[in-house]
């Protein structure tokens, strides 16, 4: 018993009370000098005032009817009411993929999966004008996450190729369900001009980034080519596209792209927009790929040549794969800015989330004073997507150890 308590003399003296614990933290980080203390107090007052003002506006003053009465318009645009279950099925597929990521990756994916499920349960339970079928599909989101989680433990366990395959399949099936299939009852094709709202922003950004990958890689390789014709053609394309605003490209393509097709083919605005965004994005993708390949250590190329690989083999098997690994965070960053840029499609008359909000304010007399509510809502929606993607990107960057190897 007496051996347990050491003599008091051998213990280090306790730290001064003002350097540890909450008080110590406050002193070090907020009140280290009189200037700091002054800054802290002034900022605290200003921030407190602003936050209280914002909260009271959101809860008391704001009238959210302009949002709640037309949620569907903001989310899927003029997509037919009876077919609203189709985008929801696509969301279920994504949720299942999230469940797979939760099981096989953990960490961030778990946070997103739990957060999404919680939001789905809250939206599904609170009483408002949701059709029974749509309500069931919202409540099915946590179930889909769970299915994905258990599939990851069995079917997908330790088989990354299967996961990648399933992901591609899910995206493809989701797009097919949203667009519709000719001749299948219940899945009649939807008029492409009716696709709008957040769905349009997401579809355009996803298509833009996916389609720009191959073109961007080709342009980047072409730019490094030692054949002058190929090189300068690629340089000209990349620099012209990067030198003008997207808005002018969209404007141009509205007038020019229909002319490049025969007159009897009426090309939809959605496809015109898609092609333009793809070309726009591929110029930026090319620069990303070039940067990523430049960051591959020169020793890699030398080693490949020493092993007897030819020029194209070195590029395709050594430089390009390592370069692509380097640019994963940059691709996420490009996706974020492309997603934000899809709001520019208003210039050719498409009803994306932002334009839908603007039209709602301007064409409904009862909502003419609710602009702040609408823009705040739109801003929050975009912010959640962009912020969570950039958060994930930073996690990937750390996990890949870019620049560390």
């Amino acid at each position: 018993m007496s051996a347990v308590t050491a003599p008091a003399m051998d213990r280090p003296p306790p730290p001064p009370p003002m350097t540890v614990g909450t008080l110590g933290w406050l002193r070090q980080n907020l009140f280290s000098s009189w200037v700091n203390s002054l800054v802290t107090v002034v900022l605290a007052v200003v921030v407190g005032w602003a936050v209280i003002g914002l909260i009271s506006w959101v809860i008391v003053t704001a009238d959210w009817l302009v949002i709640t009465s037309r949620v569907q318009l903001y989310l899927v645009g003029l997509y037919p009411q009876v077919d609203a279950w189709r985008p929801q099925v696509a969301v279920l597929l994504i949720s299942a993929l999230l469940g797979v990521s939760w099981r096989s990756w953990g960490g961030t994916a778990r946070g997103f999966a739990v957060g999404l499920s919680a939001v789905a349960v809250i939206v599904g339970v609170i009483p408002h004008g949701l059709q029974p079928l749509n309500r069931i599909l919202v409540l099915a989101i946590p179930v889909a996450v769970g299915v994905g989680y258990f599939l990851a433990a069995g079917f997908f366990a330790g088989r990354p190729r299967r996961i990648v395959g399933a992901a591609f399949l899910a995206v493809f099936v989701g797009l097919l369900i949203i667009r519709g299939i000719e001749g299948v009852p219940g899945l009649e094709p939807v008029n492409t001009n009716d696709v709008g709202g957040l769905l349009l922003n997401l579809l355009l950004a996803l298509f833009g980034i996916a389609a720009s990958m191959p073109i961007g890689i080709a342009l980047a390789l072409g730019r490094q080519s030692n054949l002058p014709v190929v090189k300068w053609a690629c340089v000209a394309f990349i620099e012209i596209i990067r030198g003008v605003p997207l808005i002018t490209l969209l404007f141009m393509s509205r007038h020019i792209l229909p002319l490049t097709f025969p007159e009897n083919i009426k090309i939809d605005t959605l496809y015109i927009t898609g092609i333009t965004i793809m070309l726009f994005s591929s110029a930026y993708m090319a620069e990303n790929v070039r940067g990523g390949m430049a960051a591959v250590a020169p020793g890699q190329t030398e080693a490949a040549r020493a092993l007897g690989l030819r020029g194209w083999q070195t590029t395709l098997l050594i430089t390009l794969p390592q370069g692509l690994r380097n640019i994963i965070p940059a691709i996420v960053g490009q996706f974020i800015s492309l997603f934000k840029d899809t709001s520019l499609v208003f210039i050719i008359g498409m009803l994306d989330l932002v334009e839908m909000g603007r039209v709602t304010i301007q064409s409904n007399l009862e909502f003419v004073d609710n602009g702040r509510e609408v823009y705040l809502f739109i801003a929050v929606v975009f912010w959640i997507f962009c912020f969570s993607m950039s958060y994930v990107s930073r996690r990937i960057e750390r996990a890949l150890g870019v620049g560390k190897r």
Partner: protein
């Protein structure tokens, strides 16, 4: 080359030189075919569908209103002049935007590194909010806020000189008087002298190692000459806006219209959040060993900052910042959404009476010229710092 072409025993289809030329020619034909096919198709369709095209319209009277102008405009002016007015409006918005975004971005970026936890977090929240919301949404929001302000009569007034109302911002502005050109000449001469002196001092400092304060001395000369000439010549008077104009408008001073104010606020907030991140990363990129080494050779904190940390972080900061300037310039085209008469907005109004394709080509070329100017500046800077390193 001839020697290479006829290497003994190598058939020509495996000769590297022949192959390279073959690939070159084939790819050249392909590129030309694609371009020719595209333009041929487009020009044939333009002719077939009676779509107007050409540049004869540039001399015609534009007959469209342009809300504001730096150099004066009347609807009876030509299309070409109207486009110039619009381009200058774009330049005005982007130059002011670049200056303000740089200042705010540096401020926020430095605040992000502050030891004060609260300041640090506020800067973080600022950055994360403004860079993750589409600029278009921000512009529409600020425009809405400006429109919902009270009228000029009931608007906000600071010191009886700065007015904020639903028609924008009015502020005091200098008006040139008789002595303006002599003053401008004196100032330019002062700046030239200052540059020469500063270079000389900088050279002496690097040669002798004695601190000679080239930048401070140069600034003092330039500002001193300018201020003394200002006092002697009295080249301009400050005009303060006063509420004596007709129809409740303000008279005198400079007026920033409502849409311009919204555009400027939106562009500055959006771009400064990116610049702040660049500044923070740039300052953090200078390794700690550099500071420690500087301190161990006896440099003071200020000297370390001036000669070691700051120059090194500038190398990291400036190239991406220039590309942000370019982005800001291109983003100013979103003005079309809030009715500020920039290049895109005016051009799209003109499409009602002039060929759309020709117009938009002019607009794209103008933006391309601005982009190339920025890349030129960036390349010059990159070359300059590369020379210093050797």
């Amino acid at each position: 080359m001839n020697r290479l072409l006829y290497v003994q025993g190598v058939p020509f289809w495996r000769n590297v030189v022949v192959l390279r030329w073959a690939v070159q020619i084939v790819s050249a034909i392909l590129v030309i075919a694609v371009i020719a096919g595209f333009f041929g198709n487009v020009s044939r369709e333009i002719a077939a569908r009676d779509i107007p095209f050409g540049y004869g319209f540039l001399d015609r009277e534009a007959q469209i209103p342009i809300g504001e102008s730096v150099i004066g405009y009347h609807p009876s002016d030509s299309f070409a002049y109207g486009l110039l007015v619009a381009a200058l409006n774009t330049v005005k918005a982007s130059v002011l935007g670049v200056i303000l975004a740089t200042l705010l971005g540096i401020l926020v970026g430095v605040a992000r590194l502050s030891p004060n936890w609260l300041l640090n977090r506020i800067a973080l929240v600022y950055i994360e909010i403004f860079r993750n919301i589409p600029l278009l949404v921000q512009l529409l929001f600020w425009f809405l806020i400006v429109l919902s302000l009270p009228t000029v009569r009931e608007g906000y007034v600071v010191f009886d000189a700065f007015y904020l109302s639903n028609s924008g911002v009015n502020l005091p502005w200098p008006v040139p008087q008789d002595g303006f050109w002599p003053w401008a000449l004196a100032t330019v001469v002062g700046i030239a002298v200052a540059v020469v002196v500063a270079r000389r001092l900088h050279w002496r400092e690097t040669e002798s190692g004695k601190p000679s304060y080239p930048i401070l001395t140069g600034l003092a000369i330039a500002v001193g000459v300018g201020v003394i000439a200002l006092l002697i010549l009295g080249p301009m008077t400050i005009e303060v806006p006063s509420p004596e104009g007709r129809f409740g408008r303000l008279q005198g001073g400079a007026e920033l219209s409502g849409s311009f104010t919204a555009l400027l606020v939106g562009l500055v907030m959006y771009t400064s959040s990116f610049i702040a991140e660049i500044v923070r990363a740039g300052i953090q990129s200078v390794s700690k060993g550099q500071t420690e080494a500087a301190r161990s050779v006896g440099m003071s904190g200020m000297l370390t900052l001036r000669h070691v940390t700051f120059p090194q972080s500038l190398r990291v900061i400036i190239p991406p910042t220039i590309s942000q300037y370019l982005n800001l310039t291109k983003n100013s085209s979103l003005a079309a959404a809030i009715g500020y008469p920039d290049l895109v907005s005016v051009a799209s109004t003109m499409t009602q009476t002039a060929p759309a394709i020709s117009l938009i080509l002019v607009v794209m070329l103008t933006y391309l010229a601005m982009s190339l100017t920025y890349s030129l500046i960036g390349n010059l800077y990159n070359r300059a710092i590369r020379f210093k390193g050797t």
